[in-house]
Amino acid sequence: MNVADVIADKRIVICGGSGGVGKTTTSAAIAMGAAAAGRKVAVVTIDPAKRLANSLGLEELGNEPALVDPALFAPAGVEVEGELWAMMLDPKRTFDDLIDRLAPNEKARDEVLANRIYQELSNAVAGSQEFTAMAKLYELDRDYDFDLIVLDTPPSRNALDFLDAPDRLTQFFEGRTLQVFLRPTGLAARVMGRGTGMVFGVLKRVTGIDLLEDLAVFFRSLSGMIDGFKERAQAVNKLLADRGTVFLLVTSPEREPIDEAIFFWRKLKAARMPFGGVVVNRVHHDLLGDAEVNDVSDELAAELGDKLAGRVAENFRDYHVLARRDARNIERLGRQLRDDRLLLVPYLDEDVHDIEGLSRLNRYLFATEVERQKMLDEVVA
């Protein structure tokens, strides 16, 4: 597998995986590769930790795509024929914009934006990033003329939220709860009988009346936008399942991220989302094989002296342990997925956090299998 083939006829690439596996840098490297090949690309991160800005040498990324200065790539020897745009999702801003767009009138909009529940919490809670990311993805696809959008996602523990966000919201709006909040003492409450009154009464006791009223106002003001939200959610679902969309999983070869990747893959399967393959970053390749590490120290002792040769061998043995572990985990991944679309990126000597690092990563991602093997052989020998 190679990334160039996977994304060739795609408009949207979504990178998923657990935290700390190089997901943001992989997204940026993919976007850079596509831009180098002449496409107009936007890379979007929803990571709260501003990592993409770091990766691209930008101080701040805004909530709208900004063109990355082509001059930045020159020192790394990368020639960008297309354009690379980058943005970092600001969930609060995106949510505000969405409310602005969906509100039936100014009064309804202001009511939501001024609501304290909305102000204090809409940005902070789990799930809001996922939901706004989807909304933003949809807008970028609709309102701009990018050839390709690469979306970096939050860690896959929120994968459920991510894929379910549109549906969950729709469900809530269609549910009875909202009706109760809209008219807690009115017809709805009577129709639904005692149960509803009880729930509301108890909630009042538990939460305090102010909070409950704020919640009621929050839900009531949102209610004018139900159709808008539903439409948006449907459009997003359609976009995710579109032939022009592909999901790439990113992982590292340790046990836990591999477990997460398998979990995420199952989720994708169940939701019938298009799966493109798995990028396994930071793989330690087995260089020792069946040979004995003592042979290495024996061979080197004459030239390096016993002590240094011993330490070189010890270091080699330590990395061999990691290589064996990685191989086992990667084999398990392949077996579970019954799929050979795995792309292994070796552990690069230097930490990847700048354009030069991205271009190193990029070379592996976009190489054909033959080229990649050659690069590996060079590393090995």
């Binding site: 501003k50 919490l121 108890v202 080197l300 240094l308």
Partner: protein, 310 residues
């Protein structure tokens, strides 16, 4: 270190993939060794603790003893909500019934911040000397394997936000009590875990600023996964000058691996310096573990190393 384990509540925070669960478990073992009745808490959806402690029971939704003086629990928002309601609403059965209604479940799923609030509420409850839960025993030390940076800070801030919104009423009252407890630096501590690389260190600095906004601070930084400094500058010179062509592929690979190790080890130095400069003291360093998995024995060893490094 004495200070840290003498607190009642410790949050272990940091970017994804830096080893928060391992550190939380290691701190848990250290607390238990000192004779402090310690519970390690993970927040729902993580399910890592069982793996770290080498048990395969999956998530533990109830407090469970996993060693001498050592307990573990997974706090699940749904479970915690039911428990909270059953304590708040009388008769008790009514609260449980309420929590089980579909309408309440929709409400709980949609009300912003509610699951964060009940989660931190449960964590606070575990740290109280007078437990609210019936028949519950007290813990001297509660260690939380917090969600990754952004979500972790959001969780800690929630009680204050709810208190500010609600102003009066039970939630406002409880929100203030919880906030007072987690922002009391004598009772509550924060351990920030980083690996000595550019971006995890950036995130640690960001964490410090976000916590400061919430009236909290980082008590100790742990630099996890530090590569050993195996080779001196003279070694590197010798390795570079060695006649690669005179050796077989195996020896060449070994020499290259040594140079590679040297690059990693030297790249982490400026990052450790950044942490030291930012926090005014050198971070506690833990070594990179060259092992396929961290078993209980290795965890115990790491825990002792951590205890002396802190």
């Amino acid at each position: 270190m004495g200070d840290l384990l003498d607190k009642r509540l410790l949050f272990v925070m940091g970017k994804g993939g830096v080893g928060r669960s391992t550190i939380a478990a290691a701190l848990g073992l250290a607390g238990a060794r000192r004779g402090r009745r310690t519970i390690v808490v993970e927040v729902a959806g993580q399910h890592r603790l069982a793996g770290v402690f080498g048990s395969d029971h999956g998530a533990v939704l109830v407090e469970r003893e996993i060693g001498e003086n050592l307990f573990a629990i997974t706090v699940d928002p749904e479970h915690a909500t039911t428990e909270y309601l059953s304590l708040q609403v009388r008769p008790r059965a009514m609260g449980e019934l309420l929590a089980s209604t579909r309408m309440f479940q929709y409400f709980a799923a949609a009300a912003p911040g509610l699951s964060e609030l009940v989660t931190i509420g449960k964590i606070w409850e575990l740290a109280q000397l007078e437990r609210r839960s019936r028949g519950a025993s007290r813990y001297d030390l509660v260690i939380v394997d917090a969600p990754a940076t952004g979500h972790g800070v959001a969780m800690i801030r929630t009680p204050k936000q709810f208190a500010d919104i609600a102003r009066v009423g039970p939630i406002a009252h409880q929100g203030r009590i919880i906030h007072r407890f987690v922002s009391d630096r004598r009772k509550t501590g924060v351990v920030a875990v980083a690996v000595p690389q550019e971006m995890p260190v950036n995130e640690t600095l960001l964490l410090r600023d976000e916590l400061a906004d919430a009236g909290m601070g980082i008590d100790r930084v742990i630099a996890n996964g530090c590569y050993p400094q195996r080779f001196t500058a003279r070694d590197v010179e010798a390795l570079r000058e060695a006649n690669a062509d005179g050796h077989g592929p195996l020896a060449r690979s070994a020499m290259r691996a040594a140079l590679s190790e040297q690059v990693r080890a030297s790249e982490q130095r400026p990052q450790l310096r950044r942490l030291r400069d930012a926090f005014g003291e050198a971070p506690a360093r833990l070594p990179f573990v060259f092992a396929p998995e961290l078993d209980r024995g290795a965890l115990e060893a790491l825990s002792r190393e951590l205890e002396s490094a802190l």
